[in-house]
Amino acid sequence: MLQIDLWKRVLILLTCVVGLWLALPNAFYSRVEQSNDADTAIALGGETPELRAQADQWPGWMPSGLVNLGLDLRGGAHLLAEVQVQDVYEARMQAMWPDVRDALRPERATVGTIRLHPSPADELRIRISQPDGMPRALEVVRGLARPIQTLSGVGSNDLAVRGENDVIIVTLTEAERMASDDRTVQQALEIIRRRIDEVGTREPTIQRQGADRILIQVPGLGSANELKDIIGTTAQLTFNAVVSRTGDENAQPGVGNKLAPSLNEEGLFYVIETAPVVTGEELIDAQPAFDQDGRPAVNFRFNPSGGRKFGDYTAENIGSPFAIVLDDEVISAPVIQSHISGGSGIITGQFTVKESVDLAVLLRAGALPAGMEFLEERTIGPELGQDSIDAGRVATMVAFAAVLVFMFLSYGLFGLFANAALILNIAMIFGLLSLIGGTLTLPGIAGIVLTVGMAVDANVLVFERIREELKTARGPSRAIELGYEKALSAILDANVTTFITAVILFAMGSGPVRGFAITLGLGILTSVFTAIFVTRVMIVIWFERRRPKTIEV
C-alpha cells in the first residue's frame, strides 16, 4: 500500500529544509556579501565600528555561503598565461659558468686554458685549449652535477655533460628539465598569488592549467591590461659585475658578458657579466626607505648565503663598480666603497616614492622565475555582467511562470505538487551551489532554465504512468504506487545519461561551460530527488488525509 515510513518523511523534509536554509543567503545577496567582506576585513586588520556594523547586517549563525558569480556576470579580468619555462634553462646555464670555471682552474695543467664558447641559450659550451685533457675535464664538470630529487627522476643527475673535440657541452637532462618546469610553474603561481593578494581584490582565481599554464581571474578589475600590470613585471633583480660603460648600443659585449641599458640615463649602456653575483631570489626582505639625501630608495636584506656571497664579492672588488640590474636594466652602478658584510644594502636611483614602494613590493613578492606569454585575455565590463544578470533573471521568472501554469493546466492538483517540487528544486540548486562554492555563469543561468524545463520531466513520467495505471482500474492508491515504481527505471536511465554528459562537460570544459555543467549536473540531482521523494511524500500525505475514491491526474 501507499505508505512511507516516518523516518523517511523526516529525512526528506530535513533535506529540503537544509537546501532552503543554504540557499537563503542568496536572496539577500548584496547584504550578505558586504557582511562577509567586513568579516574578512576584521579578521585581517582588526575591528572598526563601521566594519562591525557591516558585518552585523547578516547574523553570524545564519549560513553565509553565496553562489559565486562568474566573470561574465560580475565583470572582471581573465588571463591565461603560459610560463616560458625554457627561460629558466638559460639562466641556469649562465649561472653554471663561474662554477665550471672555478672547478677547471686547478686542472689547467691537463686541460689548458678555459674559454667560454658562444652557445645556444639552453647550453653551456666551454672550449679547452688541450683536447687531450678532455676526459679529465669531463670528469671534473660531471662532478658538479647533482642528483635530482623527484619521484620519476630517481637515479638521474641534473646535468648532462659531453665533449665534442675541444668543446665541453653542458645541458640540463630531460628529467631535470621536467622537474625544473614544474618548479618554475609552481613558483610563478605562488608569486602571482602573492602579488594579487598585495593588491587585495576579492576572490581571485589563480589556477594551474596543464603543464605550463596559469589561469588568473580577478572579478571587479577594470581590464586585463591592469591585471597584466600587476603580474606581468618580472622584477628579476640581480647584482652583476660591471666590465665597462659605453654609449654605443651596438657595442659587442664579448662572450660571457651582456649589454644592459641604464634605467635613468638615456644612451648610457653597461657591459656586465652575464652570470650574476647574487640574485633577487636570495632576498628575504625589501622595504621602501630614503637614502642619506632624503631621496626615495629601497632597503633590502639577503639570506645568509646571499649575504655571504655579496660580502665576499664586495671584499674582493673594493674600488670597482657593480650593477644593480632589474629586468635587464641597470638601476644604478655604484662603486664598492668597502666590504659590505651583514647582507643588507640599499638601492638608490631616481625613484619617486610610489616607484620605491612598488619596487619593494615586487622584490618582496619575489621575481617571476620566467617570462609570461598571454594566450587569452578577456575583460568583461561590470555593466554587461549586470545586464546579463537582469536579462537572465527576467527570463528565468517568465520560464518559471510559464512552466508552472502549464503544469497546473495539464495535471491539476498533481501539477501543483510538481510545481511545489520545482520551486524547491531551484532553491536547492542554489543551496548546493553555495555549499560547494560553485560559480554561476551566464550559460549556468541557461542551465537552470533548462533544468526548469527538464525537471518536470521526472514528474511527467510518473504522472503519465499513473494515468496509464488508472486505466487498468486497480484503485487510485495502487495506481500511484505502480506509477512511481514503473517510472523509476526510465527516470534513472534518462537522468544518468544526461548526468554523464554533464560530467564530461565539467571535466573537459573551462570557464562558462564548466559553470553550465555544474548547474546542469546539480539540477539533475535535485530534480530526481524532488520528483522521486518530495512529490511522492506530498501525494502520499494528501492521499492519507483525503482518501479519495477516484483521482484525476
Partner: protein, 322 residues
C-alpha cells in the same frame, strides 16, 4: 478540465513509412554536411583566435566610420556588426567588432587592441568597451581539439551505458540518433552562419543529453513491452511504446521549449546563439528519438526471448529494476 496536448489514447502508425523517415533524415544529414563543407562554420574567436570587442555608446552605431577608423590600423580582417536586442534601452547602441588573429603571433596582441580602442574613441567619444576578449591561435587550436574530444567522449560514454542497460541494437539506435542530432545542429549553424563558439559545444552536449533522455524513455518502454507482449511483431511493439509515451514526450518537450523560448526572447543577445542551438536540439532530438532511433531499432531487430537467462555482455546490469 485538463489541458491535453495529446489525446488520451493514440494509435498513430509511426512506422508505416519508416524507410521514408530514415531517408529524409539521411538527406538532411547530407545537406547539413554539404553546407558544412561548402560554407564552413562561423567560428568565434574561441576556435580561430582573434579579438572581439563589444562597444556601447549613446550615439547610433556608424559601422562605416568604425570600419574606416580600424582599417587605417591595418590589422587584417575585421568584421563589424551592430547588435539589436529587445532588452536594450533606447540609448544603448551596441556593436560587435571582430578582428582576426594577427599573423605570426602565438599570444594575444594587446597593443593592437589598445590602438583599436583609441581609434574608435576618435570616432565616437562616448564609446565604452563592454567586453574585450582575445584568444591567441595557440589556445584556439587546442580548444577545438578539446571540444571535439568532449563530444566524441560523451557519445561514446552514452553508447556504453545504453549497451550495458539494454542491448547493442538499442545502443546503436540511440547513438545514430545522437549523431544525427549533432550533425543537423552543426548543419544549421553553418547554414545560417550563427557564431559557433565554446558555449555552442556546451549546447551540443546538452542536446546529446536531452535527445538521449527522450530516446531512453521510449526504449525503456519498448523493453517493457517486449517482455509483456511476446506475440506482437517488433513494429507493433515499437508503435505501441511510442504511442504510450507520446503524451510524456510532448509534455516534456513543451515545458522545455517554454523555458527555452523565454530565455531566447528575454535572455539577452549574449546567449541567444546558445539558446537557439538548444531549441533546435530539443525539436530535432524529439523527432530523432521517435523516427530515427526507433527506426534503426526496427531495422536491426532485437532478440525477443527475454525469458531465458542471457549471457550477452551487460545483461546483468539490465535487470536493475531500481
Amino acid at each position: 478540465m485538463r489541458l491535453r496536448l495529446v489525446p488520451k489514447e493514440t494509435s498513430f502508425d509511426f512506422f508505416k513509412r519508416w524507410k521514408l523517415w530514415l531517408g529524409v533524415s539521411a538527406l538532411l544529414m547530407v545537406m547539413a554536411f554539404g553546407s558544412f563543407m561548402v560554407q564552413g562554420l562561423n567560428f568565434g574567436i574561441d576556435f580561430r583566435g582573434g579579438t572581439t570587442i563589444r562597444t556601447e555608446s549613446a550615439q547610433p552605431v556608424d559601422v562605416g566610420a568604425y570600419r574606416a577608423a580600424i582599417d587605417s590600423l591595418e590589422v587584417g580582417d575585421v568584421s563589424i556588426t551592430e547588435v539589436f536586442d529587445p532588452t536594450f534601452e533606447d540609448d544603448q547602441n551596441v556593436a560587435m567588432i571582430r578582428i582576426q588573429a594577427q599573423d605570426g603571433e602565438e599570444a594575444v596582441t594587446s597593443a593592437m587592441v589598445v590602438a583599436v580602442q583609441s581609434a574608435l574613441q576618435q570616432v565616437a567619444p562616448d564609446i565604452e568597451f563592454a567586453s574585450v576578449e582575445s584568444v591567441g591561435p595557440k589556445v584556439s587550436g587546442e580548444l577545438i581539439k578539446t571540444a571535439v574530444y568532449a563530444v566524441v567522449l560523451a557519445i561514446g560514454a552514452v553508447l556504453i551505458y545504453i549497451w550495458l542497460r539494454f542491448e547493442w541494437q538499442f545502443a546503436l539506435g540511440a547513438v545514430v540518433a545522437l549523431v544525427h542530432d549533432v550533425i543537423l545542429t552543426i548543419g544549421i549553424f553553418s547554414e545560417i552562419q550563427i557564431k559557433f563558439d565554446l558555449a555552442i559545444i556546451a549546447a551540443l552536449l546538452t542536446i546529446v543529453g536531452y535527445s538521449l533522455n527522450d530516446t531512453v524513455v521510449v526504449f525503456d518502454r519498448v523493453r517493457e513491452n517486449l517482455r509483456k507482449y511476446k506475440k506482437k511483431s517488433l513494429a507493433e511493439v515499437l508503435n505501441l511504446s511510442i504511442n504510450e509515451t507520446l503524451s510524456r514526450t510532448v509534455m516534456t518537450s513543451v515545458t522545455t521549449l517554454l523555458a527555452l523560448v523565454s530565455l531566447f526572447v528575454l535572455g539577452g543577445d549574449v546567449i541567444r546563439g546558445f539558446v537557439f542551438a538548444m531549441i533546435w536540439g530539443v525539436i530535432i532530438g524529439t523527432y530523432s528519438s521517435v523516427f530515427v532511433a526507433s527506426s534503426i531499432l526496427l531495422y536491426l531487430g532485437v532478440k525477443r526471448d527475454w525469458s531465458k537467462p542471457d549471457n550477452t555482455a551487460g545483461n546483468q546490469f539490465a535487470n536493475i529494476d531500481a
